[in-house]
């Protein structure tokens, strides 16, 4: 992979987003066991799918920024 000259604060922003997405994904997944309304559950599952994608993308982006 091409070595990118990432600025430190860019890496930090991406990290922050990664943390946020991870937490969202986890809560959305767990809370599905509690909801009654099926439409709400569908929406929660959609969020989980989207977040999974985002987390993967962010991980990939962050792997480029590793200083080695």
């Amino acid at each position: 992979m091409v070595q990118q000259n990432f600025a430190l604060h860019e890496t930090m922003e991406l990290h922050e987003l990664l943390n946020f997405k991870t937490i969202c994904m986890t809560t959305s997944k767990m809370i599905q066991g509690v909801v009654f309304d099926q439409e709400l559950k569908t929406l929660l599952e959609k969020d989980v799918q989207q977040s999974m994608q985002s987390v993967n993308v962010l991980q990939e982006l962050l792997s480029k920024t590793q200083p080695q």
Partner: protein
């Protein structure tokens, strides 16, 4: 217009100040629009704000690119950025007090 006259006396600094101001304004624009969208419930309002947000993001991108090209915004070189900042700050401190 005394303020602008003072600024013109600063030569190159004028453009840098205007560009920086523009950058900050465009940044606030993006964030303001995002906050407004996160409070929106009416689809029609959302559509308009979303279109504006896209434009705001592009404007910010262009200004940032312009400033990086001109060397007054060094993303990858913190030392250089601090040097430019310090230069600008010194100019500000040199402004005679009223």
């Amino acid at each position: 217009m005394g303020f602008f006259q003072d600024m013109i006396g600063m030569g190159d600094m004028t453009e840098q100040v205007i560009a920086t101001d523009f950058l900050i304004a465009s940044k606030s624009g993006v964030i303001n629009y995002a906050i407004a969208i996160s409070e929106t419930v009416t689809p029609e309002v959302r559509d308009v704000l979303r279109r504006h947000l896209d434009v705001a993001i592009e404007t910010h991108e262009k200004v940032a690119a312009y400033m990086m090209k001109n060397g007054s915004y060094q993303v990858t070189n913190p030392q250089e950025q601090i040097r430019v900042d310090m230069q600008a700050s010194d100019t500000v401190l040199d402004i005679p007090r009223p």
